[in-house]
């Protein structure tokens, strides 16, 4: 009987799955690794990354926030990615508890206080989503139209009169 994989093996599986575009498998592997090695901050980042690629960005945010709060080597990138995701999802950017104090423009906060507002975030609003659907709609609508025209053309050719 084979032994259960350890954190390193699961990490390798996750990395391999990410390279192959198998994002759900990657997320599962990183999650398994996290359960075995919860003190490795980079695993939270990779788990979150897999979730984002899997189309679940909101579910990635808690891991990114936790990674940032651990103030380890991955904290800065985790905070940046969380901010990027929140902007794209039009969520309040200040939703993070703690931001890494790594640049003059970053927010400083305590575990219990609210973050200091920065010029590009607000406490009540956030930049609107820039999701563009108009062109996507037109592409699908054009397909519908072509199909209809093709069907009409076939009916006419079938009708000898």
């Amino acid at each position: 009987m084979s032994e259960a994989p350890d954190a390193a093996e699961l990490t390798l599986r996750g990395q391999g799955a990410m390279q192959q575009g198998r994002y759900e498998d990657a997320a599962r592997a990183f999650h398994g690794a996290l359960r075995l090695a919860p003190d490795v901050d980079g695993l939270y980042f990779h788990f979150a990354s897999a979730l984002v690629w899997r189309g679940l960005p909101t579910e990635a945010l808690p891991s990114l926030d936790h990674c940032a709060s651990m103030r380890g080597p991955w904290a800065r990138r985790a905070g940046e990615l969380a901010t990027q995701i929140r902007r794209q999802l039009a969520l309040p950017v200040h939703g993070m508890m703690i931001m890494p104090a790594c640049s003059s423009s970053s927010q400083e906060s305590t575990a219990t206080g609210s973050p200091t507002p920065s010029p590009d975030t607000t406490l009540t609003g956030s930049p609107p989503s820039t999701l563009r659907l108009g062109a996507a709609w037109n592409a699908v609508a054009a397909r519908v139209q072509r199909r209809r025209e093709g069907a009409v053309g076939r009916r006419k050719s079938d009708d000898p009169t």
Partner: protein, 145 residues
């Protein structure tokens, strides 16, 4: 293997976020939903795949990224309700749902599998059955179905 091994495997954090996430996070959600609709019956033909790729292009998704995401989606179907919950704005949820309806009827008919996917998205978006039907009917009407 030790925790140190895990850290060694992960290496140092990257210099930037390239690769950590797709360029368009919401666009990926939309693309996955549309693919989920098209692939509802377990089949997808080349024209449908081409349509998905063209839609991805309109949303400014990188072609290579789009192909990876579509391959993953076709292999591991997403939960449409979970996808809906990624979109915070109810207006956008409705728009994405409408786009899904249009994609579903793009072949001229709406089968039960596609309807199930649309229903799941509507539930995730907390759209009432009446509101969902209204959107579907409007899309069908506007597309001449």
């Amino acid at each position: 293997m030790t925790r140190r091994d895990v850290k060694d495997l992960l290496g140092a954090p990257p210099d930037d976020l390239a690769g950590a996430a797709p360029v368009g996070v919401l666009e990926v959600v939309v693309l996955r939903f549309l693919a989920r609709v098209v692939h509802a019956d377990g089949h997808i033909d080349p024209r449908e795949l081409e349509l998905l790729l063209s839609v991805a292009e309109t949303m400014a998704l990188d072609g290579h990224e789009a192909r990876l995401i579509l391959e993953d989606e076709l292999a591991r179907r997403s939960d449409a309700a979970a996808l809906a919950r990624q979109i915070a704005d109810p207006v956008y949820q409705r728009r994405v749902f409408a786009l899904g309806c249009l994609m579903a009827i793009s072949e001229g008919h709406l089968d039960s599998a596609e309807r199930d996917v649309l229903d799941a998205f509507a539930r995730g978006a907390e759209l009432s059955p009446e509101a969902a039907k209204e959107i579907l009917d409007e899309v069908a009407k506007s597309s001449g179905q």
